[in-house]
Amino acid sequence: MSTHTEQVEQIHGATTGTFTKIWFVLLALTGVEVYLCYIQLPTLTMLTLLVGLSVVKAALIIGYFMHLKFERFSLFLTLFPMLIFCILLMLIFLGDATRIPNMRPPS
């Protein structure tokens, strides 16, 4: 490997082997998600598991494919705490969503 290549490798932090491994992990997690959907879990349990797995997948994509793991930490701090905070604020509505089915008059 030439010095130039090593330098680039150093700047960009990950090798093609790492990216291929991440790709395999992402495919495996997708497989787990499809399996979960066929084992008949209660709606909220399944929702929590699926969203949990998707957050892990998102973190892998953002960290490695989108390269954020190798960027300066200040970039992460500027972009993500705000995003996560806004998304968590939207969770406020979810309590109502689970309450509504119980408020239906018995038919």
Partner: protein, 210 residues
Amino acid sequence: MSSHVTAAAASAWDGGASPYATNSKKFGMWLFIISDALTFSALLFAYTYSRVSNPDWPKPFDFSPSIIFSSVMTFCLLSSSLTMVMAVHSMNHGNRKSTVKWILATMLGGGAFVVLHATEWMRLINLEHVTASGNPFGVPLFGGTFFAITGLHMTHVIIGVIYLGIICQGVGRGKFKAEDVEVSGLYWHFVDLVWMFVFPLVYLMSARVG
């Protein structure tokens, strides 16, 4: 680039020349991605709210073909993300020919996704009679939310394929720098990222089981 990094390294938070040690194109794309992520999360929250609050929510997605199709679509997008990473990698090494090949592979993955998704839409419209305003399952919101979310995502994929096409022909003709390919890669990975949430929340949560 390395001198650029060292110049800012001393004073990351003092408003140095480059506090993020990144170029402005890339930072601009990140800002766009964050705002677009909020749009998609609002839509997905609205969908999940309707889904959870309604015990009669329709489950029109059979294992074959819908779940198989959407799993293959997930595979296409994930693989195209890998080829995009390879394109950025080749461009960083100054290899324009292989960059063009990897970008073309990425566009192929995106194209396959769009074709499969369009087939899936036509199946829902023609066979299950789901439209944006009504469906035979008695939950009119299903069609509206489904087509809005997947439609917006498909628009992003189509725009991504066009964007990559422009970058690809430019790279082939010796235009554009490594950072331009990296910025287009960021957009493409974001499209992939959004699908990682649309697939479980819209498809898997409404799979016809048993």
